[in-house]
């Protein structure tokens, strides 16, 4: 079923058992993002140590795609340097824009290539990107706050 390419096991798994959910009171920047069309919301804290991402924590409510996406993203980005994170975010955004034509680069995106199927469902791309856009915003703010 076409739907299975959207709802991969690893995605539903992250949805049921989200990683890094629950806000860490220590952060360099906090942002709140909303998916205006469905009302999904996320609050995301990022803590930088120099140029390195020491922690990402988040809270929010939303569909499996948005929740699993921010969960996997946190796994992926924590411990990375900002410039490395940039490359990963860019790669993920490109995958989302690919309209089902790309399988994603597992070297860069690791487990997050599971979202490749989302790009075939234009209505869900925003869900998958919600956490990532929040991260991008938070990273900029954290650097400005420095």
């Amino acid at each position: 079923m076409e739907l299975d390419s959207l709802y991969q096991e690893v995605i539903l798994d992250h949805y049921k058992h989200p990683a890094h959910k629950g806000l860490n009171p220590i952060f360099s920047a906090q942002v709140h993002h909303v998916n205006t069309s469905c009302g999904d919301e996320i609050t995301l804290n990022i803590e930088l140590v120099g140029q390195r991402i020491n922690s990402i924590t988040w809270d929010g409510q939303g569909c499996s795609i948005s929740q699993a996406s921010v969960s996997m993203m946190s796994d992926l980005l924590i411990g990375k340097r900002l410039e490395e994170a940039d490359v990963i975010v860019k790669s993920f955004s490109e995958l989302m824009a690919s309209k089902g034509t790309s399988a994603g680069d597992p070297e860069i995106l690791e487990d997050a290539v599971a979202f490749a199927g989302v790009s075939k469902f234009p209505g869900r791309v925003k869900c998958a990107l919600l956490g990532w856009m929040a991260f991008k915003d938070a990273a900029i703010q954290a650097q400005t706050n420095e």
Partner: protein, 418 residues
């Protein structure tokens, strides 16, 4: 004319297509927009094919034909909603949202002495179940005028809490704007007490009839409201056309909103005076083909009979509510019986986010809406960030409801895999 869904469905070209790889289309999103019968599509096409010209402007036969068609459409709307003052009370807008903004901006244009002029100390009353279109324009008007916004809260079953009606509609209230039927809860609001209190304090009552005019007999005069708005596209009509009805003497006092051609009496470089109602509120070349299409839609509904339309929907709503109520893991948002409620049925399915459920239903050919349904404060009040809404109309039947409920059950299995 007897009410037969199979016969009705034949009039709607969209049901001859399938969705999601060959599945039958189970369209349960008429609360967002309705499907269109062939007669509406053809009325619009025929306007372009045979009569297209600028109404009220040209000196030629086509312009006269276009004018007649456009004005006949106005008359059709007036009779459909029982406008006591006839066609002059009907104004064509692009959608209900524009109709409501028209009222808010026009009131903002009122100068001291005009009954619509608002200032600090005045109050505008809405409800907690309003669609954004009947909330945000009033927020903005209070920002511009210093007036205050107040609202009726809700009971936990999603009915208006009218226990403190006199302290909500205070003597300094100028406007009471509320929905006739909630687009989320399906609740049909009782109007008599609100209208009586509003008129007692000299306020005008504005009825958002987007979800009632297409679904039940609505007679403006009987409801005793002062203004009423709805959208054509939710009533079998084309996109790009809405209606504002208002009492003639109020429309005459209300200042204009959009400025330009056809709404003026005289113009110099520094000043202008206004045409009579309804032209005063229709600036520019109008959405003629869409008004004509809307008239065809209302004719279609009139032929079915609005009483029959309503009975059909009440019956089907009861049927679907029963089926949903029977499943423990489904919680209906809003009244759980068909009593004083229409066919917008929102619900939550345990452990499945509405967006995921909507996606699954789509894979089964079932079209619903998910999210806050443009009524975010209502969602907050009910403590539900989002819900799934099935909304029914004349072309739906019990089979559609069965497919919906079966698909929900399948969806529970699909997402319960782990």
């Amino acid at each position: 004319m007897s009410f037969s869904v199979p016969e009705i469905r034949k009039d709607f070209p969209i049901f001859s297509r399938s969705v999601s790889d060959g599945k039958k289309l189970v369209y349960l999103d008429s609360g967002a927009t309705s499907q269109k019968p062939a007669s509406v599509i053809e009325a619009e096409s025929d306007f372009y094919r045979f009569h297209n010209a600028a109404a009220h402007r040209g000196a030629h036969q086509l312009a006269q034909e276009a004018t007649d068609l456009y004005e006949n459409a106005r008359a059709e709307v007036a009779s459909f909603i029982g406008a006591p003052g006839g066609p002059d009370e009907v104004i064509f807008t692009k959608n209900a949202t524009e109709s409501l903004n028209l009222l808010a901006y026009a009131m903002g244009n009122a100068q001291p002495g005009n009954r619509f002029a608002l200032s600090a100390g005045d109050r505008i009353v809405v409800t907690e179940m309003e669609h954004h279109a009947n909330l945000v324009p009033w927020q903005e008007l209070t920002r511009r005028t210093g007036a205050q916004l107040a609202w009726f809260g809700l009971t936990d079953e999603g009915r208006l809490d009218l226990s403190d009606i006199n302290s909500v509609i205070t003597t300094n209230t100028k406007v009471v704007a509320l929905t006739h039927q909630s687009n989320v809860l399906g609740t049909i609001n009782p109007l008599a007490a609100i209208v009586a209190r509003a008129h007692e304090v000299g306020a005008v009552v504005i009825l958002d009839a987007c979800q009632s005019v297409p679904h039940m007999p609505v007679a403006a005069a009987d409801l005793d409201v002062d203004f009423l708005v709805f959208s054509g596209h939710k009533a079998l009509g084309p996109t790009g056309v809405g209606v504002l009805w208002g009492r003639k003497e109020l429309l005459e006092e209300l200042p204009p909103f959009l400025f330009g051609g056809s709404m003026i009496k005289t113009v110099t470089m520094t000043s202008a005076t206004w045409a009579d109602v309804p032209a005063k509120f229709e600036a520019g070349v109008p959405n003629m083909a869409q008004a004509v299409g809307l008239a065809a839609a209302l004719k279609y509904l009139t032929n079915l009979g609005m009483d029959s339309v309503h009975s059909h929907e009440v019956a089907l709503t009861g049927y679907l509510l029963n089926k949903l109520n029977a499943i423990e893991t489904i919680k209906i948002v809003g009244p759980t019986t068909a009593q004083s409620r229409g066919g917008s049925i929102s619900f939550i399915v345990e452990d499945i986010h509405p967006h995921d459920l909507g996606q699954f239903l789509d894979s089964q050919g079932v079209a619903v809406r998910t999210g806050h349904h443009c009524a975010w404060p209502l969602a907050r009040r009910l403590g539900i960030p989002a819900s799934t809404r099935a909304s029914i109309y004349i072309y739906n039947d019990e089979n559609d409801c069965d497919v919906l409920v079966d698909s929900i059950v399948q969806g529970q299995k699909y997402f319960g895999r782990f």
